[in-house]
């Protein structure tokens, strides 16, 4: 039962991983784009948009880790 549960991650966790991935990729694209533009606005765009997206992506990933831990904990207690 446990092995079956572990081999099929909850769809919500999979979607969170995808959201985290999309956010990180968008942030990295902003970073690369701003590095081709030598201007103070590029720096601001990198900080406000690029870093925020990367940071948010990492947070969503960490959140998915916590939620998977909670889900397996709840399953074990049952």
């Amino acid at each position: 039962m446990e092995a079956r549960m572990n081999s099929h991650p909850q769809p919500r966790i999979a979607s969170r991983l995808r959201i985290a991935g999309v956010l990180v990729i968008l942030g990295l694209l902003v970073e690369i784009f701003t590095l081709f533009w030598a201007h103070p606005l590029a720096f601001v765009a990198f900080i406000v948009l690029g870093c925020a997206l990367i940071g948010l992506g990492i947070l969503v990933y960490l959140w998915s880790l916590i939620s998977v831990g909670e889900a397996s904990g709840a399953a074990q207690s049952k």
């Binding site: 999979a14 999309v22 970073e31 606005l41 870093c51 990367i54 940071g55 960490l62």
Partner: protein, 203 residues
Amino acid sequence: MTPFAILVALVAVTVVLIVILAAVPRITVTRSGKILAFLGLFLLPAIAGWAGFDRHMERSKETSFCLSCHIMAPYGRSLTVDEKNWLPAAHYQNNRVSRDHACYTCHTNYALYGDFKSKVRGFHHVWAQYVTGPKLPIRLYTPFQNRECLHCHGEARNFLENPVHSTQLDDLRSNYTSCLTSGCHDTAHNVNHLGEAKQWKPE
């Protein structure tokens, strides 16, 4: 391989890992899949973000970065004035400062370069440039510090052996006597008189 190429390669590897994770999220149930997710969604993006920040900070030290704002154009022109007593021009034209980092060499605590307070001022400059409009005339937030001169000249033989300097070394080091405003080296950017000055054109 340049640092920028390494950064691009890092970003490419991260994107590939994320695409694999997004296509097959099931792999995260295995130990190697968890490691892959940790690399692609935490470690590599964090390293790439920090590397990008570092590169942006390094680029903000370039003369072209400072002069990319229209309002700084007169300060850029003051570097090529054909007058020996114009301090920034003499330093720039004689390679006493790196021409690529001319602004930063003498303004190490300005805007994005300095401490947290200075960095906030740097963002304020962007806000002022594009939203509220800059307050003219442009002034330094704090009086020019002698340390900006002394980090190069402070230990130089011709500086120390000059009696004008050697007799008041402590006052210069403590900023009690300013290099710029005490009547010795008082012609800095002098942008109000740029129109009267001849321009030097490098061959």
